[in-house]
């Protein structure tokens, strides 16, 4: 009943934090060595005298820092994150163009890792000292320690030259149609390797988490009660124990959205996936600061959105919180 109010409070908190990110961006531009105008123009960009002079006027670089901060916040409020002199386009447009590809990648990796991670954890919890369980432990250790870009490169090597059954670069095939079902299949095929690479890291963590929580849940009183009243095993595990196993996974998955996004930067670079991560790599290469800082901001927006969604899912999964007993 207080859900609307709760969401409202969350959003207000999010807006506050995002403004703080903008202030941080502003501070970074001014703290970086060199002339802020040059920083904004980007070292490789059109640092011609005209451009620099125009920037000085636009951001009021001769005024006090406080005035400059408000000028900056004002232009951001109108959706203006500056101009990328390398891509020769407004930064906002660049990012809007790249968001869908990144979301495909990040969300499918999230789905794969939560489903497979939970499944592995739950199955291995049934016989904690069994062979399968030990295999899962090894996989989760390895998945945690393997650098995601290296796993990606090794998969690229495997499917690029040894066993070429999957496309290894880009998001679509030039030769294929750009509409309809064939287009979807095309994208999905290109998505398999990047999404799997990114998911591997998180499968490792979620399987470990699911395993520990499932082992705990299986010794809990309510599971003994459920078994005692004669419920079939798959109901005991699938309905009662699984719910309590999912709660920490949902929490951690939400908290790790930032890591997921950072992982996407590396994975997109390996597989030339045309998302925001690839944009980050290109803007690092060209010292394109406006783009880089705008991506930092938008990634914070994504993380905040993920946190709010997590909170809602959390309430859905855990009735104790839904009833407001917090």
């Amino acid at each position: 009943m207080n859900l609307a109010l709760h969401i409202l409070r969350q959003v207000a908190n999010a807006v506050g934090l995002l403004v703080a990110v903008l202030v941080l961006n502003f501070c970074l531009i001014h703290a970086a060595p060199g002339d802020p105008a040059l920083v904004i123009a980007g070292e490789m960009g059109g640092a011609s005298a005209d451009v620099i002079a125009a920037l000085r006027v636009k951001y009021g670089l001769d005024k006090s820092l406080i005035e400059q901060l408000f000028t900056y916040l004002g232009s951001v409020a109108t959706g203006d994150f500056g101009y990328s002199y390398y891509f020769n386009a407004p930064v906002t447009g660049l990012i809007a163009q790249r968001i869908p590809a990144t979301l495909y990648l990040v969300l499918s990796a999230l789905a794969i890792s939560v489903v497979i991670g939970t499944l592995l954890g739950v199955v291995s919890a049934r016989k904690p000292n069994g062979l399968f369980s030990q295999g899962v432990t090894v996989i989760s250790l390895a998945g945690y320690a393997a650098p995601v870009f290296w796993t990606g490169l090794m998969l690229l090597l495997l499917f690029g030259s040894v066993w070429p059954i999957l496309p290894v670069t880009g998001m679509t095939d030039v030769a294929r149609p750009k509409v309809g079902f064939a287009h979807v299949v095309d994208i999905l095929q290109h998505l398999v390797l990047p999404a799997t690479t990114l998911a591997l890291v998180f499968i490792a963590q979620y399987s470990r988490l699911a395993r520990v929580n499932m082992i705990d849940a299986l010794t809990a009183d309510y599971v003994r009660t459920a078994r005692a009243k004669g419920l079939p095993e798959f109901v005991v595990i699938g309905k009662h124990a699984l719910r309590n196993t999912l709660i920490p996974i949902v929490t951690v998955a939400g908290l790790q959205f930032g890591h997921l996004f950072a992982g996407a930067v590396l994975v997109e670079t390996v597989f030339s996936w045309p998302g925001m991560g690839r944009l980050v790599f290109e803007s690092i290469l060209r010292r394109d600061y406006p783009t880089l800082l705008a991506v930092l901001f938008f990634s914070a927006v994504l993380v905040m959105a993920a946190n709010i969604v997590t909170d809602l899912v959390y309430r859905l999964v855990d009735p104790r919180i839904r009833s407001g007993a917090r």
Binding site: L17, A20, V21, L24, L28, A31, A32, P33, V39, A125, P128, T137, L141, A142, Y144, A145, A146, P147, V148, F149, W150, L153, M154, L156, L157, G160, S161, R208, R211, V212, I215, D216, L255, G258, H259, F261, A262, G263, V265, L266, T269, V270, V280, F281, I284, L285, R287, Y289, L292, L293, V295, L296, S299, A300, V303, M304, N307
Partner: protein
Amino acid sequence: MTAVESTTVKTDKTVLPVSAAASPTMAALRQFARSPAGVVGAVVLLFLILATLFGPSIYGVDPLDIAGAPFTPPDADTWLGTDYLGRDILAGLLQGGRATLTVGGVAAIITIMIGVTIGSLAGFFGGPIDTALTKITEFFQILPPLLFAMVLVTLFGQTLTTVTIAIGVVSWPSAARLTRAEFLRLRNLDFVKASRAAGAGNGHLILRVVLPNALPPIIVSATLAIGVAILFEGGLSFLGLGDPNTMSWGLMLGQNRNYVLNAWWTVAFPGAAIFIAVLAISLIGDGVNDAINPRLRKRG
């Protein structure tokens, strides 16, 4: 292992709530030695450290010298092959490990120092200080750490120092949350109240009374922070954000990554080195966890 030893250095036995056994370090070490995973991890890490310390002079090949034709596959002369410039991969691994492991260790120290400072102040004092510090922590948590580190290194220059500091500056929030939770749990326990009644000041209470008792989970998280820092260094270098003048495992990966389809060894070995190092460190983390958290030993 050194982390375990340092607990006793900081632990003031007179204020420990429970009278400790003759030597808690020895007890912890004995426990650690019982964890096969931890011992394997420690041996592997020790081997890597020794290899990077003494390897370069024993192997005697300059990692920046042209040792053969570019992309020579692994053979009897160049054991792990050569890279795109014809530099010896094994020499690069031996030399590059120094930078990678150093960055990992120092960045982890920075991470823990910031995290423990903020977390202990927040947890100990509570109230408005806690609210403010928790807000700051929350703020740092919404910035994807690796991405934030990329921005810092891009803006402030690609040196090993910048990379190390950047990794430390972006990674501390989880250590801060952990420390805060421990301090919240401990600060109202009887032994803390007793010390306070005996006239101990806040500084003494934080550093000598509460912190020693909060250390076990912090040590585990410090161990894991080294692994995370090594992965971050690799990720930054992979994107071309490492120090181009210092050989490191990440740099080797980043410089050779475009040739992976033609010369797998240029990329496979440096990546494997990172993988083995991080794996060893997380095994040590598990072992340390078992040694100082006997309660958890039976869990998965």
